[in-house]
């Protein structure tokens, strides 16, 4: 049973000129294995920063993050991050991109190729193994990015608004794709988004964050059966509840600025 614990985490940035900016005030979230948790918040609420802290890309300024009880002190193969578009290595083809996480672990080339193909097979991208990122559509690039995260069988996928730059149609397909992946690979997902619909559609639980500095305002369990429909009245209730939060926070963030 794996778990990710964000325990009273604080993060301050040192801005040029010696200023200190408080990005995350105090956040505690608990994610247990198999869960799909969305972190919802307006732009600049520190939700992306929070993911980078979980991924061990940045040190926390206070509190701690634990994965399976162990304190996160650096990048960890148990928790990989999936970024927005443009995170594929443009000089590597699809298969090499997918196998990147194996290369850093010193897995041999033929083994990398085999496991890369295996994942590509499961995400139905095997036909494109020799394509380069610039030859793919935005949605396909994100599927490759997700496949790349899956190849090392991580326990946690930390996703930073992975579909934000996609058009509506592609985004709907990708959300579907991600749910299939989540069920198929039995992974645990911590998903950052600023879109209410996306959070309600995908997550078991939505953590609402406040605008700068980031704090947890509320945690809402989404008790809707899958597949969920955005036109369902119950879906709308969640949407209304979250929208009021978001509106208030957006206005507050505007005042702070």
């Amino acid at each position: 049973m794996s778990s990710l614990t964000i325990d009273h985490v604080r993060k301050t940035w040192h801005a040029p000129g010696g200023l200190q900016v408080l990005a995350i005030e105090e956040v505690s979230v608990e994610v247990s294995s198999g869960e799909f948790v969305a972190i919802l918040g307006p732009s600049g609420c520190g939700k992306s920063t929070l993911l980078e802290l979980c991924a061990g890309l940045e040190p926390v300024s206070g509190g701690e993050i634990r994965i399976d009880g162990e304190k996160v002190a650096g990048p960890n193969p148990k928790a990989v991050m999936v970024f927005q578009e443009h995170s594929l290595f443009p000089w590597l083809n699809v298969e090499q991109n997918v196998a990147f996480g194996l290369k850093t672990k010193g897995v041999r080339a033929d083994e990398r190729s085999r496991r890369g193909r295996e994942v590509l097979e499961r995400v139905k991208l095997v036909k494109f193994a020799r394509h380069y990122p610039h030859q793919l559509s935005g949605g396909m690039k994100q599927r490759v990015a997700i496949a790349r995260a899956l190849v090392g069988s991580p326990e946690f996928m930390l996703m930073d608004e992975p579909f934000a730059s996609l058009d509506f149609q592609t985004r709907v397909l990708m959300q579907q794709f991600l749910l299939e992946i989540w069920l198929g690979f039995k992974s645990t997902i911590l998903f950052v988004t600023h879109q209410i619909d996306e959070a309600v559609l995908l997550a078991d639980r939505v953590v609402v964050m406040s605008a700068s500095p980031g704090r947890v305002l509320e945690e809402i369990r989404i008790d809707l059966r899958r597949p969920r429909s955005m036109t369902d009245p119950a879906f709308n209730e969640y949407r209304v509840r979250l929208t009021s939060h978001m509106e208030r926070e957006v206005m507050r963030a505007a005042e702070v600025e």
Partner: protein, 257 residues
């Protein structure tokens, strides 16, 4: 494709045609400004050999000598500059202390290094290669440092989340990411390097296409001068085409795609 080729060739045909007509009609002094039919015939008649005794050489050998000098200098300059630029970028102290020197040396035109090369290496290939190398090395080092700073942070974070160590990030992400940008800079500076090789050949080196023009002047042979000028243009064009090919087919990726 055929149309594009025709569009590219037609102006040349017109230009040469006008030149020939102008010469045939006596609009210009052919003894000083011979048309292509004259100097090409001269080249064939002289069996593609120019000069006498120790100064004698064949035209193909001259072309190869000049092309070799500039390509070798560019190649070595590129490799050394990328290596130096990356190593300097790895350490803050190194970049703070070494970059001012590089910035001071970068504006020195390749041609200005010719006397230095002759004093240090004497007359010969090493001088020409040194001139090209020095002429591009400092510029490309600066260009590498700038390219390192502009590497997409997401690519670096992605590599780290997949467990890449610091040296792996440099070797597998930053190094390939900077190559196209530095190579573009190399191509921009090719013409200056090419001129430097020709100048070195004119002032000292005893062979190469620059020497053909000087022989023409010494022997007061306008055919030889015009022939030399045309060969310089065509050879330069060919090397630039080679660089363009490398840029498009080998180092084709753009940052963040």
């Amino acid at each position: 494709m055929a149309r594009a080729l025709a569009a590219a060739l037609l102006p040349w045909v017109v230009l040469v045609g006008l030149w020939e007509i102008a010469a045939a009609r006596g609009w210009m002094t052919t003894s000083l400004f011979p048309p292509p039919s004259s100097f090409i015939k001269f080249a064939i008649d002289s069996d593609f050999r120019v000069g006498f005794g120790k100064e004698g050489m064949t035209i193909p050998a001259a072309i190869l000598a000049s092309a070799f000098r500039v390509v070798a200098g560019l190649f070595l300059g590129f490799i050394a500059a990328v290596a130096t630029g990356i190593l300097v970028s790895m350490s803050r102290i190194a970049s703070a202390s070494l970059l001012p020197i590089v910035r001071g040396l970068a504006p020195i035109a390749p041609i200005a290094w010719i006397p230095v090369g002759i004093i240090v290496f004497g007359i010969g290939n090493p001088t020409a290669i040194f001139v090209v190398f020095t002429g591009v090395f400092f510029l490309l080092t600066l260009s590498t440092v700038a390219a390192v700073q502009s590497v997409d942070a997401r690519l670096i974070k992605t590599a780290r989340t997949f467990g890449a160590s610091r040296p792996q990030v440099w070797a597998w992400v930053i190094f390939p990411a900077v190559l196209p940008q530095v190579f573009t800079m190399l191509r921009i500076n090719f013409f200056a390097a090419w001129m430097a090789v020709l100048a070195a050949e004119m002032v000292g080196l005893k062979n190469g296409v620059g020497m053909i023009v000087i022989l023409g002047r010494e022997m007061f042979n306008p055919n030889l001068i015009m022939l030399g000028i045309c060969i310089i243009g065509i050879t330069g064009y060919a090397v630039d085409a080679l660089l363009l090919f490398i840029q498009r087919k080998i180092l084709w990726w753009k940052p963040a795609e």
